[in-house]
Amino acid sequence: MPLLEVKDLKVRVEEREILHGLTLTVNEGEVHAIMGPNGSGKSTLSHVIAGKPGYEVTDGQILFRGEDLLEMSPDERAAKGVFLAFQYPVEIPGVATMTFLRTALNAQRKARGESEYSTPDFLKKVREVSKSLNIPQDMLKRGVNVGFSGGEKKRNEVLQMALFEPSLCILDEMDSGLDIDALRIAADGVNALRSPKRAMVVITHYQRLLNYIVPDVVHVMSKGRVVKSGGKDLALELEASGYAQFEDAA
C-alpha cells in the first residue's frame, strides 16, 4: 500500500479553484521533488495534506496508509506521522521553544498510545538533534521562532522533523532564505532522516537543493496539476529550459 495517495484532488479557496484534479502517489522510502512556477499550487497542496482550515476540497481523495486523511484533524494527522515543514514558519511569542517541542512531542505520543518522554530523555534527544543542526541551545529558550533569522526558522523546522520522526515529511521551500552553508547543514539533517520507512516530498524552485537531497521522482506542477513526472534528470532539464513548455500542457 502506498504511504500517500492523492487522487484527482480539487481544492477551492474563497470560491476559486486552485487545484484542478491533482494526482500523486508516494511510497515508503521514496523522495519526491515537486517543482513548479509561483502560484501553481504547491503550498496549497501541502496545506491541504496537513489539514489547514480555509480550503474546500470539492473532489478527490487523500489517503495515508489507506486511511482517509481528510477526515482527520491536523493534530491527528501529525500523530499519524504527517509533517509539514512550512514555507513561512510563524513566530509564537511567549511560548518557549523547549516547552513547545516537549508539549508537541508528548501530545503526538499520547495520541498514539505511547508513554510520554521523561524530561532527561527529552533533553538528551533535543541536545543531540540541535547539535547536529548547528542550533545553539539558548535559541531554544526563546519564543518559538521569535527573533530567529530566516535560515534559523528553517533549521528549526528540520529540528522538529528530526524530533517527531514522522513517516511523511513535506518540505515546502526549505531552501529559500538559506545561505550555502546553512543549506548543506539542513540538507544533511534531512538526509539523515531518510529511511526505507519514511518518505519525503520536497517542494523547491531550485535544482541546487536536489544536489543535496537526491530525489527518486521529480514532478512538475503547473496551474494546479501535476503535468509531468520523471527521474532526477527532469530537474536538470527544468533548470535549463524553464517551465514554459509545461504551461501549455496544463
Partner: protein, 435 residues
C-alpha cells in the same frame, strides 16, 4: 426616585441585617456611630447600578440584586474546612494571615513568625482600641460605605521603616459559609526604605453563593520597594467586591499584580495616589473569565506630584458569555509635571458571545507630561493555532498554550519564583477547567 428604589429594593435586607449585626461588630461607641452613619449612606444610595457613571458596566442591582445576611463567626467545623483550603492555597515560603468568613483565625496564621519582622494586629482589636480612622474614607461609593458599616475583622499590618521582610506575607480570605456575606477591612503600612511582598488570596472552602466585600488600605513610605499580589479565586457563584486605597511616597517602587480566576461577579476598584516624587508604579491585571462570569477591574491612578511613572497593563481572557470590564483613569494634577502614565488593555475573546468593555480616561491638568492608552481585542490567531495543531497539539491544548503565552507576559512581572510558579499554576488550573 433612585432613593425609593434603593429602599424598597436591596436596602431593606441590609436594614434588617444591620440591626441584627450591630451588636456583634467591634468598636467603641464613637465607632458604632460612624458605622451607623456609613450604613445610612449605603441605605440612601442602595447598590450601585448602571446609571452611576463609575458602575456603568457593573450594575450590581442587576447582577447581584440582594445583599446576603452576615456570615456567622466560624465554628470548629468551619475552621477545619478552612485549614484544608489554606493548605491547598498557601504559597511556598510565604507566612500566612488567615481570615475565615471575614474573621481572623489566629490558629491558622503564622502570627509569631510575622511578628518577628512586623507588627500585626486584627481589625477587631484595633477598633476596640478606638482607631476609628481606619473605617473612614473620603469615598461616597455605596459598597465602600457598606464595608465601613459592617467590616467585622481584618488584619492591620505595620512594616517598620527600613524593615526588609525575609518572606512574603500572604493574607488568605477563606469562605466557608454558603449564602452569607463577609465584610473585611485591612490596613498595610509599609515604612520608609522597607522592602516587602504581600499577597491577598481569596478562596472557597466548599462554600457556595457567598458574597465578599473587602477593603484594603495600603500606605507606603518613601524609598520603599513593594510587591503587592492579589489572587481572586473565589467560588464560581460567589460575589467579590474589593476596594483598595493606596498611597505611595517618594522614590518608591510598587508592583501590583491582580489575577481573577473565580467569582460570578467581581470588581476590584483601586484608588492609587502617587503622593511623593520619583516613584514608579507598575500594575498588571489578568482576568480569566468563563461561563457567565463578570469581572471588573477599575483603577484610578492619581498623579498628585511631579516625576512619577505609572504603567498599567491589563489582559483579559474571556470565554463563553463572560464579560470583562477594564476602567482606567489617570489623573495628572496641575503640579504633576513630567508625569509618565500609560495603560494598555488586551482582550482575548474565546467565543463569539464573550464581551469586553474598556474605558480609559485621561484627566490631565499639567502640560509637560507623557500619557497614553491603547487597547486591542481579538480572537486567537488562526495561523498560530494551525502551526501548533500541525505539530500534534489538540485544539484545546493549542489554545491553552497561546492563552498561557498571552497572560504569561503579565505573570512574568512577578519577581518571586515561588509566587510566580503559584500564579502560573492557577492559570493552568483555570485552563484545565475550560476543557
Amino acid at each position: 426616585m433612585n432613593v425609593a428604589l434603593a429602599k424598597t429594593g436591596s436596602g431593606r435586607a441590609v436594614s434588617d441585617l444591620f440591626a441584627s449585626a450591630e451588636g456583634l461588630l467591634p468598636g467603641s461607641p464613637a465607632i458604632k456611630a460612624a458605622r451607623r452613619q456609613a450604613f445610612e449612606t449605603y441605605e440612601r444610595l442602595g447598590l450601585p447600578h448602571r446609571r452611576i457613571e463609575e458602575w456603568k458596566y457593573t450594575d450590581l442591582r442587576a447582577l447581584v440584586g440582594e445583599v446576603l445576611p452576615l456570615a456567622a463567626s466560624p465554628d470548629a467545623g468551619a475552621l477545619s474546612k478552612a485549614a484544608d483550603a489554606v493548605k491547598a492555597h498557601a504559597i511556598a515560603g510565604a507566612r500566612k494571615l488567615v481570615l475565615v468568613d471575614g474573621v481572623f483565625a489566629a490558629d491558622l496564621s503564622d502570627v509569631k513568625a510575622i511578628a518577628a519582622e512586623a507588627s500585626v494586629k486584627t481589625l477587631r482589636e484595633t477598633l476596640e482600641k478606638d482607631a476609628g480612622d481606619i473605617l473612614t474614607t473620603s469615598s461616597t461609593d455605596a459598597v465602600i460605605s457598606l464595608n465601613a458599616a459592617l467590616a467585622t475583622d481584618g488584619v492591620v499590618l505595620e512594616i517598620a521603616d527600613g524593615a526588609q521582610l525575609s518572606a512574603p506575607i500572604q493574607i488568605i480570605h477563606v469562605a466557608t459559609a454558603a449564602s452569607a456575606s463577609a465584610y473585611s477591612r485591612s490596613r498595610v503600612r509599609i515604612g520608609k526604605g522597607a522592602r516587602a511582598t504581600f499577597i491577598e488570596s481569596f478562596v472557597a472552602a466548599g462554600a457556595k453563593a457567598y458574597q465578599v466585600n473587602d477593603a484594603v488600605i495600603v500606605e507606603i513610605g518613601d524609598n520603599a520597594d513593594v510587591a503587592h499580589i492579589r489572587l481572586m479565586d473565589d467560588a464560581p457563584d460567589a460575589v467579590n467586591i474589593t476596594s483598595q486605597f493606596v498611597t505611595v511616597g517618594a522614590d518608591t517602587k510598587l508592583n501590583f499584580f491582580n489575577m481573577t480566576t473565580g467569582g460570578a461577579v467581581s470588581r476590584l476598584q483601586g484608588f492609587i495616589k502617587l503622593a511623593g516624587e520619583g516613584s514608579e508604579l507598575s500594575i498588571n491585571g489578568v482576568n480569566l473569565l468563563k461561563k457567565t462570569e463578570h469581572g471588573d477591574l477599575t483603577l484610578v491612578v492619581d498623579h498628585a506630584v511631579p516625576n512619577c511613572t505609572s504603567r498599567e497593563i491589563f489582559r483579559a481572557v474571556i470565554d463563553d458569555r463572560a464579560h470583562s470590564v477594564f476602567q482606567g483613569r489617570i489623573i495628572v494634577r496641575p503640579d504633576a509635571q513630567k508625569t509618565d502614565g500609560k495603560m494598555m488593555t488586551r482582550a482575548l475573546l474565546l467565543s463569539d458571545e464573550a464581551e469586553a468593555d474598556n474605558k480609559p480616561e485621561l484627566e490631565i491638568f499639567a502640560d509637560d507630561v507623557s500619557c497614553g492608552h491603547g487597547a486591542t481585542a481579538g480572537a486567537l490567531d488562526d495561523t498560530l493555532l494551525f502551526y501548533l495543531r500541525a505539530r500534534g497539539l489538540p485544539e484545546k491544548d493549542a489554545q491553552a498554550l497561546l492563552i498561557q503565552a498571552f497572560v504569561g507576559e503579565a505573570i512574568e512581572q512577578i519577581a518571586d519564583d515561588d509566587l510566580r510558579e503559584h500564579v502560573v499554576g492557577m492559570a493552568e488550573r483555570w485552563l484545565e477547567r475550560r476543557s
